[in-house]
């Protein structure tokens, strides 16, 4: 297909795999990549599957290979005037010059609306925006929780300085390496006092069913982040217990604090 290479076999495999589809349905298509408009102008009816920012078409629901791929980046989706007074039509228009718009038509107004909505939100950037928003919300929620506990310990006159680590360095951003001077990170890396496996086992139960494929290379990173979460919760509880022990005089000397 032209001079530029693409890992087509892998792309087709992905299209057919059980990875989540964001929208599916029959659409009529005209003048998409490589397709001449049909003589009668009613378009070619294909089965469309939207996965993330990739729109695949198939001849039928049972097809074993995709007919076409449209990458939904740098484009806008809008209602369109179809050829031959076709109702429920919409177009994918590309910002880049020289790239033909992709014209499609649904079977009814509800399908048309659903497709336009789904395609408008299909870009990688949109998903990334939402992820970052939730990341920062989670950070804030944990920060508030830690502060709340910090103030309640302080008020009770505890000797133990509670750990209120900088949440930014907890590695909440997926895949980012944690900063070295954050104590929870040191402990996790040491693995001496707390087997990471324990946290992992805890998490694998409820979370694994929605975190999907084990063989994904990104799986370890997500589990690491989740392990931190579980570990952090445990750490708070243990610190609190040690503080309580000191207050009630069961320990003759201060334990070495875990910390930076």
């Amino acid at each position: 297909m032209g001079a530029m290479k693409l890992n087509e076999r892998s792309v087709a495999h992905y299209a057919l795999s059980d990875s989540p589809a964001d929208h599916t349905g029959f659409l009529r298509t005209w003048g998409g990549p490589g397709t001449p408009p049909t003589p009668s102008g009613t378009g070619r009816r294909c089965w469309f599957v939207l996965k993330g920012n990739l729109l695949f078409s198939f001849e039928s629901r049972e097809s074993r290979a995709p007919l076409s791929l449209v990458v939904l980046e740098g484009c806008t989706v809008e209602l369109a005037e179809a050829p031959v007074s076709e109702e429920f039509a919409f177009a994918i228009r590309f910002d880049a010059p020289g790239v033909r718009p992709h014209l499609l038509a649904a079977d009814g107004p509800a399908a048309q609306e659903a497709w336009v909505k789904a395609l408008s939100r299909a870009s990688f950037g949109y998903m990334r925006l939402v992820v970052r928003e939730l990341e920062s919300q989670l950070r804030d929620a944990r920060h508030s929780l830690a502060l709340h506990r910090h103030s309640s310990w302080k008020a009770a006159g505890g000797h133990c300085k509670p750990q209120a680590p900088d949440h930014r360095s907890l590695g909440l951003e997926n895949g980012h390496s944690p900063s070295k001077d954050c104590s929870p990170m040191d402990l996790v890396e040491e693995r001496g006092s707390r087997p990471a496996g324990q946290g992992l086992a805890e998490w694998q139960g409820p979370a694994s069913h929605f975190l999907g494929r084990r063989q994904s290379p990104s799986f370890p990173e997500t589990s690491y982040f989740s392990t931190l979460h579980n570990w952090y919760g445990q750490e708070i509880m243990e610190l609190r217990q040690r503080w309580l022990q000191r207050v009630w005089g069961s320990q003759p000397e201060r334990e070495k604090q875990d910390g930076p």
Partner: protein
């Protein structure tokens, strides 16, 4: 499978998450290492001859496996044939780690899983669905299972 090459070429010109000149070797037996400008844009890895404006090729990164091969080298392979590897050579271990990390995060599926995880965590902590305020809590892409194709 038909796709619009111009579309992909335009995408290759978009701001990259990461770009560098690396050594690259294709999956075929007997492939030679070549210098390529490698550019990560959304969930695609484009590679260019160092003096050309249009990419030689692109790799969709969904369901890819990134493996360290040497201290400063890694490979990318795909689910349907894990032994068929695209090899990359970096100039340092640090650069290698940087690329491997970026590539593992560079899939739509990875973002989706992260989002679902965060959503659940926030819900557990605050009792509220964080997506409701945006009016997008019912969107298929944010659900646990999505739609089955």
């Amino acid at each position: 499978m038909r796709y619009n090459e111009k579309e992909l070429q335009a995408l290759s010109r978009q701001p990259a998450e990461l770009a560098a000149e690396l050594g690259m070797r294709g999956p075929k037996k007997g492939s030679v290492l070549k210098r390529r400008l490698v550019k990560l844009v959304v969930n695609f890895l484009f590679y260019f001859r160092t003096d050309e404006a249009e990419p030689v090729g692109a790799l969709l990164l969904e369901r890819c496996r990134v493996t360290q091969e040497e201290p400063s080298g890694f490979s990318i392979s795909f689910m349907e044939d894990p032994e068929r590897k695209y090899h990359f050579e970096c100039c340092s271990e640090e650069q290698c780690q940087e690329w491997m990390g970026a590539l593992r995060r560079a899939s739509y599926e990875f973002m989706r899983r992260s989002l679902i995880f965060y959503r659940n965590e926030i819900q557990k902590m605050t009792g509220k669905d964080p997506l409701e305020q945006f009016g997008i809590s019912e969107e298929a892409r944010f659900q646990l299972g999505g739609l089955k194709a």
